[in-house]
C-alpha cells in the first residue's frame, strides 16, 4: 500500500515541478511534495532500510541543488547576459510534440533538490537520538 502511495506522491511532485513557472507549481512546492514522499518511507520502514535503498547523503543533495541553481545564474554571466537571465527554446520532440525547454527548469530542479535535501536532513536530524 505504502509503495503505491509513495509513487502517487512522487508522480504528483514531479507533475507539480514540471507544470511550474507558467502555471501554479514549481521547484519549491515540487520539492516539498517529493520530500513528503521520503518522509512517508522513513515513517513506514525504519531509517536503515530506507538508507539501503537510497544510499546518498541528503546534505549533499541540498548542496547539489544550490550548485545547480547558482550555476544557471553563473552560466548567464558566461554568455554575457545579466546574472540569473533565463532563456527558452521551442523544440520538436518525437513523443511530446512541440515542447518548451528552458534553463528555468534547471534552476527549478536546483530549487527542488535543495528543498528535498534540507527537509529530509531536518526530519532525520530531529529523529536522531541525542545522548
Amino acid at each position: 500500500m505504502t509503495k503505491i502511495v509513495f509513487f502517487i506522491i512522487l508522480t504528483f511532485g514531479v507533475e507539480l515541478f514540471i507544470s511550474g513557472h507558467n502555471n501554479p507549481g514549481g521547484g519549491f512546492i515540487g520539492g516539498l511534495v517529493l520530500s513528503s514522499a521520503f518522509v512517508l518511507l522513513y515513517l513506514v520502514y525504519d531509517i536503515e532500510t530506507v538508507h539501503r535503498g537510497t544510499p546518498f547523503d541528503f546534505k549533499r543533495v541540498a548542496a547539489l541543488g544550490v550548485l545547480l541553481a547558482v550555476g544557471t545564474g553563473m552560466l548567464s554571466i558566461l554568455f554575457g547576459e545579466s546574472f540569473l537571465s533565463q532563456t527558452t527554446w521551442l523544440v520538436d520532440l518525437p513523443v511530446f510534440g512541440e515542447t518548451e525547454l528552458g534553463t528555468m527548469t534547471i534552476f527549478e530542479a536546483g530549487v527542488a533538490l535543495t528543498v528535498l535535501g534540507v527537509v529530509v536532513t531536518i526530519i532525520l536530524g530531529i529523529s536522531e537520538d541525542v545522548e
Binding site: 548542496a63 550548485l67 553563473m74 546574472f83 537571465s85
Partner: protein, 494 residues
C-alpha cells in the same frame, strides 16, 4: 549591465557549496575559502574605483527592470564596506586556520563562514527591501550555526538567546516590509524613496520607519544590545572576531540606508537616533568598565562604537557621513583585531579575567604591543585609523551645534581608553605569572593575521588621504539620495 556586482555575494555562495562536497579535504577547503574572500575583496576594490569614475553601478537580475525586478546597487558606501568586510574576513580566516580544531573544521566550518560573508555582502549591495531581508537571513542562519558549532554549554545557552532575539527581529522586519508594501505598493528601495517623497511622510509612514528603526537597532546593537555581550563572547575566537567585525555593521548599514534614502523627511527620527546613540555609548562605557572578563569588555567596546557611528547618522551632514564611513571601516578592522587579541590572551593564559593575569608582555611582547596599538587606534589617537573618523564626526557635530552629542561621543572615547588601559596595565604590565618553562609557545601563524590587521590599522591612519576620494563619494551619495534614486530608476519617475 554590471555582472561583476554580484560576484562578492555569489562567489562565496558558489565556493561554499563546492566545499560541502570537499568535506574531508581540509587543506583544499582552507585554500579555497581564503582565495574566495580575497577575490571578492579584489572585485570590490575594482568596483569601488569604477564607481568613482563612472557613478553608481546597478545590476538587474535577469534583466527585469526596476522597480519590477530585484537588483543590486553598488554605491561607494556599500562597496567600501564590502571591500573591508572581505579583507577582514580573509585575515580572520588565516587566524581560524591556526586555531580551529580539525573536528570543528570538518563540520562544514568554512562553508558557513563563506555563507556568512555572502549574506553580509548581499545585504550591503541589494537595492530591494525584501532582498535585504533574505540576505540578512542568509547571514543570520550561518551565524546561528557558527555560534553553536562545537556545542559547549555556554555556546548553546547564548545561542538560544541569540536565535530567539533574531527570529523576533526578523519577524518585525517582515512586518515592516508588509506594511510598506501595503502602503506604497513597492519594495524597491529607490522607488519607495520616491513614493515617500510624493505622498509625504505622514504618521503612518513614520510609524513604519520606527518599526524599521527597532528592527535594525536590535540587529546593530543600538540601545537594544542586551543580547550582544553574551553571544559575542561565547563562540571560538575566530568566529567571535567575525561577528564583532561584521554583524553589527550590517545593522548599522541598514540604518544608514533607511534614514538617508527613504525616511528623510521627519527630523524627529534623527533626534530619536541621537538619543539612542547617547544612551548606547553611556551604557556601553558602563559595561566596559564594570566587567573584568576580557571578552565581555571587548564586546561592550563593540556597543560603544555602534553608538559612536550612529551619532554620524543623527547629525546627518556630509562631513559627519564622511566621518562615519571612515569610522565604520576603522571599526571593522580594529574590532576584529581586538577580538583576536582578547581570544589569544585567553588561549595563552587559560584565564579570562584581566586581574588574574599579569606581566604578559614579558612572555609575549608582540601580543602586548599590538594590544597597546589597537587601544590607541580605538581611542582615536593619531596617526592610527580611529582618529580621522572621530575628527570628522566631531566637525559635523560642531557644524550643526549638536554639542551634547559631541561631548558624549568624545567622553565615550575616554571610556574606551580607560576600559582597555585597565586591561593593558593589569594583564601586560607587572610581574609575570607564567614562568618560561610553562609558557605556551606563540606560533607564528597566530601572529601573522594579528600583524596584518595591525598593518591595516596603521595604513588606514596614515593612508587616509588615498581613501578620501572614495569616502567623499560615499558621503555625497548618503547626503544626496537623488544620486542613488537616479542611478536606479532614472529621472522619469522623479
Amino acid at each position: 549591465m554590471n555582472n561583476i556586482l554580484v560576484l562578492p555575494m555569489i562567489l562565496p555562495v558558489l565556493v561554499g557549496v563546492i566545499l560541502v562536497f570537499l568535506r574531508p579535504y581540509i587543506r583544499v577547503q582552507r585554500v579555497l575559502s581564503v582565495l574566495t574572500t580575497m577575490a571578492s575583496a579584489a572585485v570590490a576594490a575594482y568596483c569601488l574605483h569604477h564607481i568613482h569614475l563612472n557613478g553608481i553601478m546597478r545590476l538587474d537580475f535577469g534583466d527585469w527592470l526596476p522597480p519590477h525586478g530585484i537588483l543590486f546597487v553598488g554605491d561607494s558606501f556599500a562597496m567600501l564596506l564590502v571591500l573591508v568586510a572581505c579583507a577582514v574576513s580573509s585575515i580572520i580566516l588565516l587566524y581560524a586556520f591556526a586555531t580551529t580544531g580539525i573536528e570543528t573544521e570538518t563540520m562544514f566550518f568554512y562553508p558557513f563562514i563563506l555563507f556568512l560573508v555572502a549574506g553580509v555582502n548581499g545585504s550591503f549591495l541589494t537595492g530591494d527591501l525584501f532582498n535585504l531581508f533574505v540576505c540578512f537571513e542568509v547571514m543570520l542562519l550561518a551565524s546561528y550555526v557558527l555560534l553553536t558549532l562545537g556545542g559547549r554549554k555556554t555556546q548553546l545557552k547564548e545561542g538560544i538567546t541569540y536565535v530567539l532575539i533574531n527570529v523576533l527581529a526578523s519577524w518585525f522586519f517582515l512586518l515592516g516590509i508588509a506594511y510598506i508594501y501595503g502602503v506604497l505598493g513597492t519594495l524597491n528601495m529607490a522607488h519607495i524613496a520616491v513614493r515617500v517623497a510624493e505622498t509625504g511622510q505622514g504618521p503612518l509612514l513614520t510609524l513604519i520607519a520606527i518599526i524599521f528603526l527597532i528592527v535594525f537597532s536590535l540587529k546593530a546593537g543600538l540601545l537594544l544590545y542586551f543580547w550582544l555581550p553574551g553571544s559575542y563572547s561565547a563562540p571560538p575566537t575566530a568566529v567571535a572576531a567575525l561577528f564583532g567585525a561584521l554583524l553589527t555593521k550590517v545593522g548599522i548599514y541598514a540604518l544608514y540606508r533607511m534614514f538617508t534614502l527613504i525616511f528623510i523627511h521627519d527630523p524627529v527620527i534623527y533626534k530619536i537616533i541621537g538619543v539612542l546613540a547617547i544612551v548606547t555609548m553611556v551604557a556601553g562605557c558602563l559595561g566596559a568598565i564594570a566587567y573584568s572578563d576580557i571578552r565581555q569588555i571587548v564586546s561592550y567596546n563593540v556597543i560603544i562604537s555602534v553608538g559612536f557611528v550612529l551619532t554620524g547618522l543623527a547629525i546627518a551632514t556630509n562631513i559627519a557621513f564622511q566621518g562615519a564611513s571612515y569610522y565604520l571601516i576603522h571599526d571593522m578592522i580594529s574590532k576584529a583585531l581586538l577580538f583576536l587579541l582578547a581570544g589569544t590572551v585567553v588561549y595563552l593564559t587559560g584565564r579570562s579575567k584581566f586581574n588574574e593575569i599579569s606581566g604578559l608582555i614579558r612572555n609575549y611582547p608582540l601580543v602586548g604591543w599590538l594590544f597597546f596599538l589597537t587601544m590607541l587606534a580605538i581611542a582615536g589617537i593619531p596617526p592610527f585609523s580611529g582618529f580621522i573618523g572621530k575628527v570628522y564626526i566631531g566637525l559635523g557635530a560642531i557644524e550643526t551645534g549638536s554639542y551634547v552629542l559631541l561631548a558624549v561621543s568624545f567622553l565615550s572615547s575616554i571610556g574606551v581608553l580607560y576600559s582597555l588601559l585597565r586591561v593593558f596595565l593589569n594583564s601586560f604590565w607587572g610581574e609575570t605569572i607564567i614562568s618560561e618553562d610553562d609558557q605556551k609557545p606563540f606560533q607564528k601563524k597566530i601572529g601573522l593575521p594579528l600583524v596584518l590587521l595591525a598593518v591595516l590599522i596603521v595604513g588606514l591612519g596614515i593612508g587616509a588621504e588615498l581613501l578620501s576620494p572614495y569616502i567623499q563619494d560615499a558621503a555625497d551619495t548618503l547626503a544626496d539620495p537623488k544620486q542613488y534614486i537616479r542611478a536606479v530608476i532614472g529621472d522619469d519617475l522623479e
